[in-house]
């Protein structure tokens, strides 16, 4: 049947790749590809839109969170007879000395004189502390006159925002028109800590708590993670035990974070019972959570180092340790850093395990060390979002912006380090 004649006739008719059926199939393939590309593009556009909406919303709300309603009060310290000198104002007890010396009354007196009685009543009860802080920072002020922008009460601030009781709104409007009330940029937000009034809160306490906690996490998780990855990949024999260890590490990375919090509560707080809420305990708990991520990414980075580099180093007589530390580790480091930063970013945003070990306490002063009570940014955001006072909404957004900025900073550092160490082969 397969005679030369039929073959010749077939090819003379039409080549199989030139038939209409083939062209129809070709068109279908192109259509499928176009559809897939459109779908992918759509997905990207959708996620970018969501991100832009989220960030935009955060930014619009958060900008107001970086501002606060303030009233100007000029205080003549000499006339008021406030006592103090360079020595007493820099002593640790300066705040008490000023309070006993009647600074709150002095502030109230000048406020009443300059703003009127009704406005002075709506001055934040803690306003005198700002004055005291200024005096302690610069004792020379005590010999002169100075205008302070003092925080309004949260009721008046709500009134200024066009909400709250009609009387407050009216008072706010009148004061604004008289130039006695304005929303000012509040740099103090980045320097103060938690407080009961949204007018007096700051983020520094939580930010410092986060920084200290992250330091503990990094110092514990990075070396342990990297060394575990190196040992498992380079030295450990491949047997049932290492298989079990590998499975355990992979499972550890998937354990819900609150379980780690329970572990921290049951183990770390049992060992250090008087360190509740301390960054040290928080960092140890988060390190448990971060370490498996570093081990897994580290092992993948080590696997990606070409065996030829190892062979080359062994062949010139490098010992196994020298091969690891001179060749494998430098080449695997960029990948390890990427894994570390992913783990750290997750730890930075983690709330649940820290709630378990008591980092949700109301902490009004920034922690002075790894063992003093602290809170962290995401927990602070969680706590503020729970507050009833309207002023906390904007403060919460501002805190989220600070958290995101911190995250970006960390990521930027990681990208910088990765590019610095990255080599081609």
């Amino acid at each position: 049947m397969n005679s030369p004649a039929t073959t010749a006739a077939g090819s003379a008719a039409i080549a199989p790749t030139r038939t209409p059926a083939f062209e129809a199939r070709l068109a279908k393939r192109y259509r499928a590809e176009r559809n897939f590309r459109l779908m992918g593009l759509g997905a990207v556009i959708f996620s970018v839109a969501v991100l832009v909406f989220l960030l935009g919303n955060m930014l619009v709300n958060g900008i107001a969170g970086f501002q606060r309603a303030e009233m100007p009060v000029t205080i003549n310290f000499v006339e008021a007879g406030v006592e103090g000198d360079a020595v007493s104002l820099t002593a640790p007890t300066a705040l008490q000395t000023l309070e006993m010396g009647g600074l709150p009354d002095v502030v109230e007196f000048y406020a009443e004189a300059q703003l009127g009685e009704d406005a002075a009543r709506e001055l934040s009860p803690d306003a005198w502390r700002d004055v005291a802080a200024a005096l302690m920072a610069d004792p020379a002020l005590i010999a002169g006159t100075r205008t302070f922008q003092l925080a309004a009460s949260s009721n008046l601030a709500t009134g200024l925002a066009g909400e709250g009781s009609p009387e407050m709104q009216a008072l706010a409007n009148r004061l604004v028109s008289e130039g006695k009330l304005a929303k000012n940029w509040d740099w103090g937000f980045l320097a103060r800590s938690d407080a009961t009034s949204p007018q007096a809160v700051g983020i520094w306490g939580a930010l410092k708590g986060s920084i200290l906690t992250m330091l503990v996490t990094l110092v514990l998780a990075f070396p342990v993670g990297v060394l575990s990855a190196l040992y498992l990949e380079e030295y450990a024999p491949k047997n049932r035990w290492t298989d079990i260890i590998e499975v355990s590490i992979n499972n550890l990375a998937a354990v819900p974070s609150i379980i780690f919090g329970l572990l921290g509560l049951a183990v770390f707080l049992a060992i250090f019972p008087n360190m509740r809420s301390a960054p040290l305990i928080g960092g140890m708990t988060l390190a448990l959570m971060t370490m498996p991520v570093i081990v897994i990414s580290g092992r993948n980075a080590i696997k990606a180092v070409p065996p030829s580099i190892r062979d080359g180093a062994l062949a010139v007589g490098a010992s196994p340790v020298q091969v690891v530390f001179h060749h494998v580790l430098p080449l695997a480091l960029p990948g390890m850093l990427t894994g570390t930063i992913i783990g750290m970013a997750r730890a930075l945003g983690e709330t649940a395990p820290l709630l378990m070990i008591g980092m949700r306490a109301f902490v009004a002063t920034p922690p002075d060390g790894f063992t003093s009570p602290a809170t962290v940014l995401p927990v602070q955001i969680f706590l503020w979002s729970d507050e009833i006072n309207r002023g906390f909404v904007e403060r919460t957004s501002a805190a989220i912006i600070v958290l995101l900025a911190f995250l970006l900073l960390m990521n930027g550092l990681a990208i910088y380090l990765r590019n610095k160490f990255e080599k081609s082969w």
Binding site: P237, D311, G312, A313, V316, G317, H326, K423, S424
Partner: protein, 262 residues
């Protein structure tokens, strides 16, 4: 079964292998090979793919140690010392027996660092000046000095394939080894780079005992004075290169040389 031409076993042999077997798990990759490697000549191992010639070569500097499942039995003496012995210091052995691989594998460091690495870890140079001398001498011997002397700080991986391979040869001779093993050193290179490598092997022979594995019979004929033919894990025939290529004794060698299989 193994045909060894006359005068191949001499007293001055650098490496003396006796009854060497290599197992990968259950599989016997090398079966009872005995061979003497002369310090004065280039010895070529030829044979079809999978015949075990590279595996056998890697016994000489114990690179098979890095493969968990590999097991080597028999004796391999380097100047009378059994290198398969457990007491043999592998690091020292590899300083004495250098190796060049099939694919150029310079370290992703500068050209200078590539050469200086071996001398540094072995403490062969105390001062920077001594190291400079070693780097220049090694690169000169590898015929690369003139091409790279102005860019010693550039990355070794930025060189062309042929230059990278000569860099690897320079790296091997920087620690002043007694033997250099070459595992198909030119198979990833173009003909011009290959010619340069072959020229280099010619120049280095005599100073170092060189053992080269190649799947190119022309290359074996060009660069070596001794040739061993391997087939299915056994050494079939070992003799002077001219004899092997013109007057092989074994039928299988003749078939391979004339291109009937392989």
């Amino acid at each position: 079964m193994t045909v060894i031409h006359p005068n191949m076993n001499d007293e001055s042999a650098k490496i003396r292998a006796r009854d060497v077997c290599v197992f990968y798990g259950e599989k016997k990759a090398i079966d009872n090979v005995s061979i003497d490697i002369s310090p004065d000549y280039v010895t070529a191992f030829i044979g079809p793919s999978g015949c075990g010639k590279s595996t056998f070569l890697r016994c000489f500097n114990r690179m098979n140690d890095t493969i968990g499942a590999a097991r080597v039995t028999g004796r391999i003496e380097l100047e009378g010392e059994n290198i398969l012995d457990n007491t043999m210091d592998v690091v020292q052995l590899r300083a004495r027996v250098g190796m060049v691989f099939q694919k150029p594998n310079p370290f992703p460091k500068s050209i200078y660092e590539n050469i200086a690495y071996g001398p540094k870890i072995h403490g062969l140079a105390d001062k920077k000046a001594d190291l400079d001398v070693i780097v220049e001498r090694s690169l000169t011997r590898a015929g690369l000095w003139d091409e790279v002397k102005d860019r010693l700080d550039d990355s070794g991986t930025a060189l062309s394939g042929g230059q990278q391979q000569r860099l690897c040869i320079a790296r091997a001779i920087a620690v002043d080894p007694e033997v250099i093993l070459m595992d198909e050193p030119a198979s990833a290179l173009d003909p011009i780079a290959t010619a340069k490598i072959e020229e280099l092997i010619d120049e280095l022979s005599g100073r170092y005992a060189i053992v080269i594995v190649t799947h190119s019979m022309q290359q074996a004929a060009r660069v070596s004075q001794r040739t061993a033919f391997f087939h299915l894990g056994k050494m079939v025939e070992y003799g002077p290169t001219s004899e092997i290529f013109t007057n092989p004794i074994e039928e299988r060698t003749k078939d391979y040389i004339t291109g009937r299989y392989g």
